[in-house]
Symmetry: C2
Subunit: 253 residues, 2 copies
């Protein structure tokens, strides 16, 4: 069972939700299981306003953060978890089944300055491949093959129940990773590194300019898979800054 202090370090992020009833239902599930931080990415304004002003809307809706990009919403998080089913999807990151997520969450929260985001996609199609490239893992909700797709409010309730009730206790795994291996760079720091490496790729003529988006996507996935800790990330930043300067100096000379 998570303590309140642990729940406060977990954010719920909704990407482009459409139905105000669903937004309200997610907020209610958050209140039911003691979560307080909600972020909404590229909200459809009329519906978002309607959800916020609904009678009996929990206070956390009024306090919700609004961002225009997913990168911004998860910037300060060290573990980003996308949710969905595996139908019509070949995930590019490790998949973890919802009923086995407790250990992952618990271990992350054992790090003093860690923060977790749980991301839910829009009602119609769920998270896109692009959205998922910001996620360390895809959390699969084990639904029936006949009707795999869950309602947004119900998916949130199931995920938050599982995380609130089964995470937070001492992990059963006797292996304790070293602090350096366990702590993790924030999503925002990884984005800075991604941007810098992109510049180096361009400056070094690593690949044609029209490959830029595909490279950026792969780079995002790779940096999350590498599990960089803050020191790794600083070292990599220092190295690539130096490389970039040298490449630019050479071009200018």
């Amino acid at each position: 069972m998570l303590t309140q202090a642990q729940r406060d370090r977990i954010s719920i992020v909704l990407v482009s939700p459409r139905n105000p009833l669903n937004i309200g239902a997610v907020a209610r599930a958050m209140a039911n299981f003691g979560f307080v931080d909600l972020a909404v990415v590229s909200a459809y304004e009329p519906h978002w306003r309607e959800a916020r002003s609904a009678v009996g809307a929990p206070e956390l809706l009024a306090k919700a953060r609004e961002t225009s990009t997913l990168a911004e919403a998860v910037r300060d998080c060290t573990l980003v978890l996308g949710t969905g089913t595996l139908t019509h999807r070949k995930p590019e990151q490790p998949v973890v089944c919802l009923d086995e997520i407790a250990q992952l969450v618990t271990r992350e929260l054992d790090q003093p300055s860690s923060r977790i985001s749980i991301i839910f996609g829009p009602e119609k199609h769920g998270l896109t491949r692009e959205d998922l490239s910001w996620c360390h893992h895809l959390v699969e909700i084990p639904t029936d093959a006949g009707q795999p797709s869950m309602n947004l409010g119900q998916a949130a309730a199931v995920c938050l129940y599982e995380i609130a009730i089964r995470s937070g206790d001492a992990t059963e795994n006797p292996y304790t990773p070293s602090p350096a291996a366990a702590s993790r760079a924030t999503s925002g720091n990884l984005d800075v590194l991604t941007g810098l490496i992109q510049q180096v790729m361009l400056a070094s003529n690593y690949s044609p300019g029209n490959m830029r988006a595909a490279n950026e996507h792969d780079l995002r996935l790779m940096l999350r898979r590498l599990n960089l800790n803050p020191a790794d990330q600083r070292r990599a930043l220092g190295l690539f800054r130096r490389i970039l300067r040298q490449l630019e100096d050479r071009r200018n000379s």
Copy 2:
């Protein structure tokens, strides 16, 4: 993880649901987690019709059973589980927390002819004390004290997820009860016994007539707590029938 054959032996029962969207949401959660048998008790007709005819309503809504009483809806079940929170409630039956329900469900399904009902109350106030008197256990959903009450569709999603995913595997408990102790009379059989004992109570002037409802309530609870198996129930029926005949003979003579 429950097999499909096991899921088919679990019924979902909604008592007086009001909001057609919630009825639809319960049906969707059932489809998501592979449950098929839905019963609706004393449905409010216009809303029930609306829920059934909604676009994209799962087939199980069209096939749902309608009953006028809870007793009828759970008649063939050997384990009846009411759901709710403990706020404003002093339950008269054993409480089991949702995250510990797997063993109870698994053990019941190990009995060849067992059937389970999971009961959800109306949106406003949940199951009444009267409704709960048909339940062997109250299943508590472990919600936050600040916002304990869950939306009906979300409560169903959380309960069905937990039961579908965590029940059905070999119980960890090494103790195997004898078949006689483990198998259980159906709810309908217990109701027949309750009715008969009521008649005996009246015929024997056990208590004033105005205590009838209270006695019946306590009797229902007690018979479920006693965990009668089908043979116990038949023996008790035989005995009380004989007692009743004797009492009536004496009165008529």
